[in-house]
C-alpha cells in the first residue's frame, strides 16, 4: 500500500490495453479506425461542428493512441503524451493543439498534421499504422482540424450512463452476437456509440469479443464482457451453457441460497453432486467456523446421532465455542494488519483483545466498523484507535479503508484515473481528506519517545494537520458522493462511517458477504475477493444482492451470515475429486478441496497426535490460531504461508502447496516427533490393550473424522505384518495419515 508507485498501475494498463489487429472478420460491424462507417446514429461531420470531447477523444481512443502501452503511458511515447484513455480532455487538448506549435494539428492543411501523418503511417511511426485514410476516425480527426480545432466547450452535455443491449445473454459455443452501446447524455439525448466503445472479455478462453462489440462464445462457463466509453464502464453477463438439460429435481432447497444457485445450474445445464457425509460435514464445519478439528468424542457423537437437524445444531454449537473468536480474530488480524511493528506490544494486546472481544460479543459489523473509523485515544489502551497507527498517512488510510471495508481497490487512483473503474483522482483524495484532521501526540507527562518505546495518542483536530498534507488537495467526500458540510469541531470521520455502514451503501455489505462466502466456499461470488467494481461482476448477481441485502437487514450479524451459508444445501455438497465440468468451482456444483491454512494445520496436527507446540513467550499448548501476530517464531507457519501483515490484500496469505512444505511433512523431524511422542496419542493407544481395528478406527476418526474403509483396514493389516516391529508399523501408518491429502486439505 505504501509502496504503490504509479508505474505499477500503468504497467497494468499497458498489459490490458491490448492493441487490436488491423483486420476484422468480414461479417463484423465496421471498425471506425479502418473502415468507413454507415448508419444514421453516427456523428455527422458535415452538419455539425465536431467536439473535442465527444468526437476527437473517442476517435483517438478507438485508434489506440491513448492506450497505456502507447501515448497514454505516463511517460508518453516518442515525446508525445496523452492522458490515459482520454480521461483528461483539457490536458489532451493542450498537448495536441496548444503546445505543439501547429505541428500536430495544422488547420491550414489538415492532411499535413503530424497526428494524421503518423497515425496513418505515412511518415515513420513507432506504433505503426493505426488508422486508414478512408476510415471514420481519419474523417473525424481531419474534419475537426479543418473546422479550426474548436476548444473544449464547458457547457457540452456530459455522459450520464451507458446502456448495453443485450445486457444478459446466453450463447452456445461458436455462436456470435453483436452488442449495441447507447450513451445517455445529460441533456436527455441518447446516441449509439457502439463503434466507439471498447470491449474486453474477462476470460478470452471462454468468449472473445471483437473491437466492434461482437461476442463469440468458445467454451462453457461464465465470461463477463466489459464495455468502456468515455470514462464509463459497464459489464455484460455472458453465459455459455455446459449442456441443454439438467437434473436438479433431487436437489432439496434448504434456503434462498440454494434457489439462486440452482437457477444458475438450470441456466447452464449443470448437475450438483450429492450431499456430503456426516463425517465430512463435522470436519468441514468445525474447520470453517472455529479453525479446529472435531475431537474424537465430538465426531463419534455426531456420527451416532439420529437427530434430524443435527447439522443445524452443530452449526449453532460451533458458533458459540470460545475458539470462534480466536479463529476469526486471526482472520481479522490479517485483514487489519495487526502487528506490533506498528503499534508495539501493548498496542497489539489492546487491538487484538478488542477484536476478539467484539467477535465474542458478536458486535454488529457496522458498529465494529464505526468504532474503528471514528476511534480516538491512546494506542496502548483504546483498542480500535490502533487502526490509525497501522497506517498514518491519509492516502494510505484511504486505500486501506476502501480495500478492507468496501472491497474497493483505490491504489491506481493515487496517480491517475482508475483504468477499469469510474474512480478519479478526486475520489481518492476526497476519501483521504477524511483523515487529514488527525493529530498524533506523545503524552507529555510520560516523557517518552519513539515508535516502539512509548504510547501515543490520536485526536481529532479542527483543522487539517500540517503533517497530513496530501500531494493533491481535496475536500472530503465519499466515493461518488457529495462533500459533507463540516460543523466546526465535528469529527468528519463520522460522516464517512455513516455513509460506509449505511444499508444502502453499495459496497460495505457486499464486501463482507463476499469475503465470508469465499472463506466458506473457497471462492468469492466476485473474484478477486477484494476487488468489487462494475467491470468485475459477480458470478451470481441475484444471490449476491439478496445475501447482501439480508445481511444488512439482519443488522450486519456475522454469525447470521455464517449460519445462513452453512445451512445451505450448497455448502453441504460433497467434495468431488474429479468434477466433469465446473473445474474452477464457479457454479458451486461440488465442494472444492483446499489446503488447510498454516495455523489451522499446525493445530490439527497437534490435536491429532495429542502433542503441544511451544511458542516463544507463550504458555505450553497455546494454539497457533490464537497467536496475536506473526512475530512469534515458527518455521512451520512461515513455510505454510502465514502472511506478515504488511498488505491488506486477501492474497497476502499464501495457500498454495510448495516444495518446502512437502519436505517438511515428508522428511521433517518435527512430524516424526509428534507421531512418536512418548505421551502422544499413538503411545497411549499402543500401551492400552486395544486391538489393531480399534486403533486404526481412532486414528481415522481423529485425522479424517470418519471410519476407515475395508480397503484401508486391509492395507493397515498388511503394513503391520510386513514391518520390522509393531511400533514402527503404527508410526508409519500414523505418519502416512498426516501426510494424506485428505488430512492436509479442507473438504
Amino acid at each position: 500500500m505504501k509502496f504503490l508507485p504509479f508505474f505499477f498501475c500503468l504497467m497494468l494498463i499497458s498489459a490490458v490495453a491490448m492493441l487490436p489487429a488491423a483486420t476484422e472478420a468480414s461479417d463484423a460491424p465496421p471498425d471506425p479506425a479502418f473502415s468507413p462507417l454507415q448508419g444514421d446514429d453516427l456523428p455527422d461531420a458535415n452538419t455539425r461542428p465536431l467536439s473535442f470531447v465527444r468526437d476527437v477523444i473517442p476517435a483517438l481512443t478507438k485508434a489506440g493512441c491513448n492506450a497505456g502501452a502507447c501515448h497514454g503511458s505516463f511517460q508518453g511515447r516518442g515525446g508525445f503524451q496523452l492522458s490515459l484513455w482520454g480521461f483528461d480532455p483539457p490536458f489532451d487538448f493542450d498537448v495536441l493543439v496548444k503546445s505543439s506549435r501547429g505541428r500536430r494539428v495544422s488547420p491550414a492543411s489538415p492532411q499535413r498534421s503530424l497526428l494524421l501523418q503518423k497515425g496513418t503511417g505515412s511518415i515513420p511511426h513507432g506504433g505503426g499504422r493505426r488508422i486508414s485514410r478512408e476510415s471514420e476516425v481519419y474523417r473525424i480527426l481531419y474534419e475537426y482540424i479543418a473546422q479550426g480545432v474548436s476548444p473544449i466547450d464547458a457547457d457540452e452535455p456530459a455522459l450520464r450512463s451507458l446502456e448495453i443491449e443485450p445486457s444478459i445473454l446466453t450463447l452456445q459455443p461458436s455462436e456470435s452476437i453483436s452488442l449495441r452501446v447507447t450513451a445517455h447524455w445529460s441533456d436527455g439525448t441518447k446516441t449509439d456509440v457502439t463503434p466507439w466503445a471498447s470491449f474486453d472479455s474477462n476470460d478470452p478462453s471462454r468468449c472473445e469479443v471483437s473491437r466492434t462489440g461482437t461476442i463469440t462464445a468458445i467454451r462453457a462457463g461464465k465470461c463477463p464482457v466489459t464495455v468502456r466509453y468515455m470514462g464509463q464502464v459497464t459489464a455484460v453477463d455472458v453465459t455459455v451453457p455446459f449442456a441443454t438439460s439438467t437434473s436438479v429435481s433431487e436437489f432439496e432447497v434448504y434456503n434462498f441460497i440454494d434457489e439462486h444457485i440452482r437457477a444458475e445450474w438450470q441456466r447452464v445445464g449443470l448437475t450438483p453432486v450429492g450431499l456430503c457425509s456426516d463425517g465430512e460435514f463435522i470436519r468441514r464445519a468445525s474447520l470453517d467456523l472455529i479453525g479446529t478439528l472435531p475431537t474424537l468424542d465430538e465426531t463419534r457423537a455426531f456420527l451416532a446421532s439420529t437427530e434430524p437437524d443435527k447439522r443445524r445444531q452443530l452449526i449453532d454449537r460451533l458458533l458459540e465455542r470460545p475458539e470462534y473468536a480466536e479463529y476469526w480474530g486471526l482472520k481479522w488480524g490479517d485483514l487489519l494488519r495487526v502487528h506490533r511493528r506498528y503499534i508495539g506490544d501493548k498496542g497489539l494486546a489492546s487491538f487484538s483483545g478488542w477484536i476478539k472481544q467484539s467477535l465474542r460479543e458478536n458486535r454488529p459489523l457496522d458498529q465494529f466498523t464505526r468504532e474503528i473509523l471514528t476511534a480516538q485515544g491512546n494506542v496502548f489502551k483504546d483498542g480500535p484507535v490502533a487502526y490509525f497507527f497501522i497506517d498514518e498517512k491519509p492516502e494510505d488510510l484511504a486505500e486501506t479503508t476502501a480495500q478492507v471495508f468496501l472491497g474497493v481497490r483505490m491504489q491506481c487512483t493515487r496517480c491517475h484515473h482508475h483504468p477499469f473503474e469510474v474512480w478519479e483522482q478526486d475520489d481518492y483524495y476526497g476519501l483521504a481528506a477524511f483523515f487529514t484532521q488527525l493529530e498524533i501526540k506523545q503524552p507529555q507527562e510520560l516523557g517518552n519517545s519513539g515508535r516502539y518505546g512509548g504510547t501515543r495518542i490520536l485526536r481529532w483536530i479542527s483543522e487539517p494537520s500540517p503533517q497530513r498534507t496530501m500531494k493533491v488537495s481535496a475536500q472530503p467526500h465519499v466515493l461518488g458522493g457529495a462533500s459533507p458540510v463540516p460543523n466546526k469541531n465535528e469529527d468528519l470521520r463520522v460522516h464517512l462511517a455513516d455513509w460506509m455502514t449505511s444499508p444502502e451503501n453499495p459496497y460495505f455489505s457486499r464486501n463482507f458477504v463476499n469475503r465470508y462466502w469465499a472463506y466458506l466456499m473457497g471462492r468469492g461470488l466476485v473474484m478477486p475477493v477484494d476487488d468489487l467494481r462494475a467491470s468485475n461482476p459477480a458470478s451470481h448477481p441475484a444471490l449476491f444482492d439478496e445475501l447482501a441485502r439480508q445481511f444488512a437487514e439482519q443488522g450486519f450479524d456475522l454469525k447470521w451470515l455464517l449460519r445462513t451459508i452453512c445451512q445451505s444445501h450448497v455448502y453441504q455438497l460433497s467434495m468431488n475429486l474429479n468434477p466433469e465440468f465446473d473445474h474452477e468451482g464457479q457454479f458451486y456444483t461440488c465442494y472444492l478441496p483446499r489446503r488447510l491454512s498454516a495455523e489451522v494445520l499446525l493445530d490439527a496436527m497437534n490435536q491429532a497426535t495429542q502433542t503441544v507446540e511451544i511458542f516463544d513467550g507463550m504458555p505450553s499448548g497455546f494454539r497457533a490460531i490464537s497467536l496475536p501476530d506473526p512475530t512469534i517464531v515458527s518455521s512451520f507457519l512461515d513455510t505454510f504461508g502465514r502472511p506478515n501483515r504488511s498488505n491488506a490484500c486477501e492474497c497476502a496469505r499464501n495457500g498454495a502447496p510448495d516444495l518446502a512444505q512437502a519436505l517438511n511433512l515428508l522428511n521433517g523431524t518435527a512430524i516424526q516427533q509428534k507421531v512418536a511422542a512418548k505421551s502422544g496419542r499413538l503411545a497411549k493407544l499402543l500401551e492400552s490393550n486395544r486391538s489393531d481395528a480399534e486403533i486404526v478406527e481412532e486414528l481415522y476418526l481423529v485425522t479424517m473424522s470418519r471410519q476407515p474403509t475395508a480397503d484401508e483396514e486391509r492395507i493397515v493389516t498388511e503394513t503391520i505384518a510386513e514391518a520390522p516391529s509393531r511400533q514402527e508399523a503404527w508410526e508409519d501408518i500414523f505418519w502416512s495419515l498426516l501426510n494424506c491429502s485428505e488430512f492436509v486439505f479442507q473438504h
Binding site: 504497467m11 481497490r409 478477486p528 475429486l577 495457500g655 516444495l659 523431524t669 501408518i733 501426510n739 494424506c740
Partner: protein, 446 residues
C-alpha cells in the same frame, strides 16, 4: 504418486498445458497455472542459456569495503584503519593484506566500486535493494514489509528456468535476511539448507533423511503413503491444489532420494585438498557444496557468510576470522570452477547489502554505509581483471554518477541471459517488471 510429466493430456484429450492455463484454482491468490506452466515451458523449450548457473557469495551484514577491496592507505588514520594493502595479480590493483589468496585471483574478478543505494539503516531493506534492484522500506522487524516485495535474482532464475535433473533451481543456505521470491509466491523461494557442511556429520534439516528414520524406512513409508493416500491416486487434472501437491511430493522425494541429490550433498566425498582449498569454515564448505549442487543441476546457489555487521571491534573480527574465511572460500571457488571448466557457464557474485562507514566509530567499528560498496563479479560473460568505478579519497562517495541497484540488477540479468523487461503478475494481479529502468553496466560485460 501422480507424476506431472507422465501424462500429457487429460481425459478429454485437451493438452495439459492448455488445461492448466484455463483451469485456475478458485482460491484467493492461488495461481497454479503459472506454477505449472513454468515447469512445462522449461521442459519444452531447451535453450542454450538454460545451462548458465550462478553462485552468490553473500557477505551478510555488510562487508567493510574500505578494509578489503577498496582500501584508502592515503586517507587519515581514522578512515584508513589498521590494515595495509598488498599488490594483486592485476596491475595497479591493491587489496587488503588479509586477502592474500584473493590477491592472486583478482584476474578472475571484475571489481565494481560504482554501485550505491540509499538504505543505510535496515539490513532486510538493503538486501532487498541489492538482490532485487528495487527499493524497499526499512522496517525494524527484520523482514521486507512493503506491500510489494520483489523476487530476488535466484527466484527469478527459478521462475524462468525451472528444475533440472531432479534438482530444484534455487538453493540457499539458511539464515538469509532476505533472499526470497516476494510476490512470486513461496514456490519460487529457495530450498533452504539448514545445516553446517563443515560439520562432521553434515545433515540438512528436511532434506537429509534423519538417522532415526533411515533410507529403508523412508522408502517403505513412501509405499504406505502411496497406498493410503487414496485421493492422490484418484485425483485427475481437475483439482489444482491437489495436483500441485502431488507434484511437490514427487519433487520432494527427488530431492530426498535421487542419486544426483544424494551425491551432491555427500560433501565427504570431496578430496581433502579441495576441501582445504575452500577453507574448513562454514562458508568455505558451503561454497564447495554450491559447486557440487551446480554440477548436480541446481541453477542458482546463494551462499551466506554471516557476521559482517562489525559495528564494534571491526579490525580483530575482520582479521581473525571474517577475511581469512572469505579469502579461502572465494578464491577456492574461483580456482575450482576454473579448473573444472565451470567458469564458462557460471557467474559468481561476491557482495554484501552495503559497505561500511569509512570513518571508524567510537567502538572501533564501522556502521552501515550504502553510498559505497565493493562487489566482485566473475565468470561467464564478465570482463574480469578490471576495476569499474571509483570512490573518493576517503571512500565517502562514488566519483561521477553512481550506478543504481537497478543498473546492478540489469547487469546480473544480462549476465544470466534473462530478459529484464519481463513482467510478472503480483499476487494481487498487477503486472510488475522485474527491472525498472536499470541499464546494464557496460564495462562489466565482456
Amino acid at each position: 504418486m501422480f507424476s506431472l510429466h507422465s501424462r500429457r493430456t487429460n481425459g478429454s484429450g485437451m493438452h495439459r498445458r492448455a488445461f492448466l492455463e484455463v483451469g485456475s484454482l478458485p482460491l484467493m491468490g492461488l495461481t497454479l497455472p503459472t506454477l505449472f506452466s513454468r515447469t512445462a515451458e522449461s521442459q519444452e523449450h531447451a535453450q542454450p542459456t538454460k545451462e548458465l548457473n550462478c553462485i552468490l557469495l553473500f557477505t551478510e551484514g555488510g562487508l567493510s569495503n574500505i578494509d578489503s577491496l577498496d582500501m584508502k592507505p592515503e586517507a587519515p588514520v581514522e578512515y584508513r584503519g589498521e590494515f595495509r594493502p598488498i599488490a594483486t595479480n592485476v596491475a595497479g590493483l591493491d587489496i587488503c593484506e588479509h586477502l592474500p589468496h584473493m590477491a592472486q585471483s583478482m584476474d578472475k574478478v571484475c571489481l565494481v566500486r560504482s554501485i550505491a543505494h540509499t538504505e543505510s539503516g535496515d539490513h532486510a531493506a538493503a538486501c532487498h535493494y541489492m538482490l532485487t534492484g528495487h527499493p524497499q522500506r526499512s522496517d525494524p522487524t527484520g523482514q521486507p514489509t512493503g506491500s510489494i516485495i520483489h523476487p530476488s535474482f535466484g527466484s527469478v532464475v527459478s521462475k524462468e528456468r525451472g528444475w533440472r535433473n531432479g534438482m530444484p533451481p534455487y538453493v540457499a543456505s539458511g539464515g538469509f535476511v532476505y533472499e526470497g521470491a516476494g510476490y512470486l509466491g513461496t514456490s519460487y523461494n529457495p530450498l533452504k539448507l539448514y545445516g553446517d557442511p563443515n560439520a562432521e556429520n553434515f545433515k540438512i534439516d528436511n532434506v537429509s533423511i534423519p538417522d532415526s528414520i533411515g533410507w529403508d524406512r523412508t522408502i517403505r513409508r513412501r509405499r504406505i503413503l502411496d497406498r493410503l493416500d487414496d485421493w492422490q491416486r484418484r485425483v485427475d487434472t481437475s483439482s489444482g491444489a491437489l495436483l500441485a501437491r502431488s507434484q511437490f511430493y514427487q519433487q520432494a522425494y527427488d530431492v530426498i532420494t535421487s542419486p544426483a541429490s544424494k551425491q551432491a550433498f555427500n560433501i565427504a566425498d570431496e578430496p581433502a585438498e579441495i576441501r582445504e582449498r575452500y577453507g574448513r569454515t562454514t562458508e568455505g564448505q558451503t561454497a564447495l557444496l554450491a559447486r557440487r549442487l551446480i554440477e548436480a543441476g541446481v541453477r542458482f546457489v546463494a551462499v551466506r557468510s554471516g557476521g559482517w555487521d562489525t559495528h564494534d571491534n571491526n579490525f580483530p573480527r575482520l582479521k581473525d576470522s571474517l577475511l581469512p574465511a572469505l579469502d579461502k572460500a572465494w578464491s577456492g571457488l574461483l580456482l575450482d570452477l576454473e579448473e573444472r571448466g565451470l567458469m564458462e557457464n557460471t557467474v559468481v557474485i561476491c557482495m554484501g547489502e552495503f559497505g561500511r562507514t569509512p570513518r571508524v566509530n567510537g567502538a572501533a567499528g564501522r556502521d552501515h554505509y550504502a553510498p559505497c560498496n565493493a562487489i566482485g563479479i566473475s565468470g561467464a560473460g564478465v570482463n574480469m581483471g578490471t576495476v569499474i568505478g571509483a570512490t573518493d579519497a576517503k571512500c565517502e562517495r562514488v566519483l561521477g554518477t553512481p550506478d543504481s541497484t537497478m543498473d546492478f540488477a540489469a547487469t546480473v540479468y544480462r549476465l544470466l541471459k534473462i530478459d529484464d523487461s519481463r513482467e510478472y503478475l503480483s499476487n494481487d494481479g498487477r503486472p510488475i517488471a522485474i527491472n525498472n529502468g536499470g541499464k546494464p553496466i557496460a564495462e562489466v560485460l565482456s
